[in-house]
Amino acid sequence: MGRLVLRRLVFVLFVVWGVTLITFFLSRVVPGDPARLIAGPRASAAALAHIRAIYGLNEPLAQQYVRYMSDLLHGNLGISFMTRRPVTQDLRTYFPATIELTVLALILGVVPAILAAMLAARRRASGVDQTVELTAVAGVSIPAFWLALLLQYVVGVKLGWLPITGRLAAGAAPPPHITGMYTVDGLLSGHIGTSVSAFEHLLLPAIALAAGVYGLMTRIVRASLLEVTGEDYVRTAEAKGLPRRRVMLRHILRNAMLPAVTILGLEFGVLAGGVFVVEYIFAFPGIGQYAFNAFAASDYNAIMGVTLLVAILYTLTNLVVDLIYLYLDPRIRYA
């Protein structure tokens, strides 16, 4: 197993290198002139040339790539043309917001999914089961951007229950930077009110993202529950006369949740795609909005930084999933 893990880690390095190669050349083809972006629309030709020289925009692509890679190995992702700050600093600012949002979305999606799956698995092929399946397929079918706009209008504007944009009320001071996640930082620093406000701002975008998570999760957990229910140890537990509740929680649910781990990679993909549009709609300053703006502005370094971060996280998620799977399946572990 040790060799397998090593092989997979080498593979992650290969993927990351491939990703730098692809995104580097892809981002240079994005139409737009970054020098013009930095200098402003009325800059003189001399000023533009000066900026191109500073940022190395005149060098051949291959040379730019080599320089980029050597910077990258030193943990330097370059300066964002949009924000004029180091990309690593930008990522540190925007990424915690997205973590906060996606974690809440996962919770809001997974909990109902487990409940619905338990309901469906109790009576296989019944009307309840098929209705749950319909809601699950609906969850992955409903466009996140449409759901986001509807929630924003109905719950936010019409009913006025929740805020519709940003991370905090306009003008409110963010809590001291500890983790970068406002809900957590507020609690840690004793600003409870800030935490509550940050949480309220998270709710609507998180619900919009949760629909897709719910859809994927419900199907997997249901199938897994049905599989486990037929196992010998469940029959043994029932034969011993254990209460139904206990069998469900200790024997069935616990084992049925393991396959759910294997779709974490898929969930990650759904969330990453959703974050892109949902943050845009809610003007939520996370990594999705940062990426969107970077694309719109041909901000090379920012585009590279975000895609690298996403690709590394995605590949690592899949690696962890595989390792958990390996660990759980002795047939592979000892091979």
Binding site: F14, V16, V19, V30, A138, I142, A272
Partner: protein, 302 residues
């Protein structure tokens, strides 16, 4: 895989059912299948004959009828320049279906050809091709499609190409895994022993046996393809106004949420139901043709 035990109750295996009788048996197996067939039929009819019935007025502006609610003359209301929403939604069906068809027709043959090649030849060819597909799996599908679409520049054609580029590696993997199992099956070994050429085996056995599974995957992907195109268009990367693409229409409707609820609601509902129909159809077909495929094929990729 794990789901094998699950399905037996819901759908009896098809007994070489084909044509209309096959469709009927599929519909009767579950009301979800019936719903899927109903939705897909309606959307396809909408795309085929809708514009003929309603006339070609998807882009006919009427400044005397701006942002009017649903009424007898405009069943689904009008938009911000007085265009009939029903006419635009119906015209959008054609765009969405054609885009989805193009995407799977680009991605599937390309991916399958490479997958079959990798599976048949093996060795370093297999290794190189599969590591190449791995690079595509390093990104969430929608994010990669958005990046490619942004690079190519905003247009409907470019988003179609971008989504197809993201989809083909899945077909390559699917076809390769099928070829690897088929290669060891008796009928292929028999063909080999009796002197069939590799090309002959590919055409007679591989392509023919991989095809049904790929076809199911294509129908399951159609829903996601439609969703991706609309989401990219919504973001401004795809179809441009005044094209009556559903996502483009919804992007235009954003500013009129407070004054004209129907403007955003109806295109969104149509998109949701269309994607729902194709996803249900893909799931239903997969269980219907072969319950064991539930592990092999994926669903719900966004």
């Amino acid at each position: 895989m794990m789901e094998e035990a699950v399905v037996s109750a819901a759908a009896a295996p098809p007994k070489a059912a084909s044509g209309w009788r096959g469709v009927w048996a599929f519909v009767r197996a579950s009301w979800l299948n019936a719903l899927a067939v109903a939705i897909v039929t309606i959307v396809v009819l909408m795309a085929l004959v809708g514009p003929l019935l309603l006339g070609n007025k998807a882009n006919a502006a009427d400044f005397s009828a701006i942002l009017q609610g649903p009424s007898a003359s405009h069943w689904l209301g009008t938009d911000n320049v007085g265009r009939d929403l029903l006419a635009r939604i119906v015209a959008g069906a054609r765009i969405s279906l054609a885009s989805a068809a193009l995407i799977v027709l680009l991605a599937a043959p390309f991916g399958c050809a490479l997958g079959i090649l990798a599976g048949m030849v093996g060795g370093w060819v297999d290794e190189v091709l599969m590591r190449f597909t791995d690079l595509f799996f390093a990104f969430p599908a929608f994010v990669l499609a958005a990046a490619i679409a942004a690079t190519l520049g905003p247009s409907l054609e470019h988003t179609i190409l971008a989504v197809a580029i993201v989809y083909w590696p899945w077909y390559a993997r699917l076809a390769r895994s099928q070829v690897l199992t088929l290669r060891e099956r008796e009928f292929v070994l028999a063909a080999r022993v009796s002197g069939s050429s590799t090309g002959g085996i590919v055409v007679r056995h591989m392509v023919r046996n991989v095809l049904p599974i790929v076809a199911i995957q294509m129908s399951a992907d159609a829903g996601n393809a439609i969703l991706s195109i609309s989401a990219l268009s919504f973001l401004g990367l795809g179809a441009q106004p005044p094209t009556p693409e559903w996502g483009t229409m919804m992007a235009g409707a954003q500013d009129y949420l407070q004054t004209a609820w129907w403007f955003l609601t109806f295109p969104g509902l149509t998109l949701t139901f269309t994607v729902l129909g194709f996803n249900l159809l893909g799931d239903g077909l997969r269980d219907w043709i072969d319950p064991r495929l539930r592990g092999v094929l994926r669903g719900g990729r966004v």
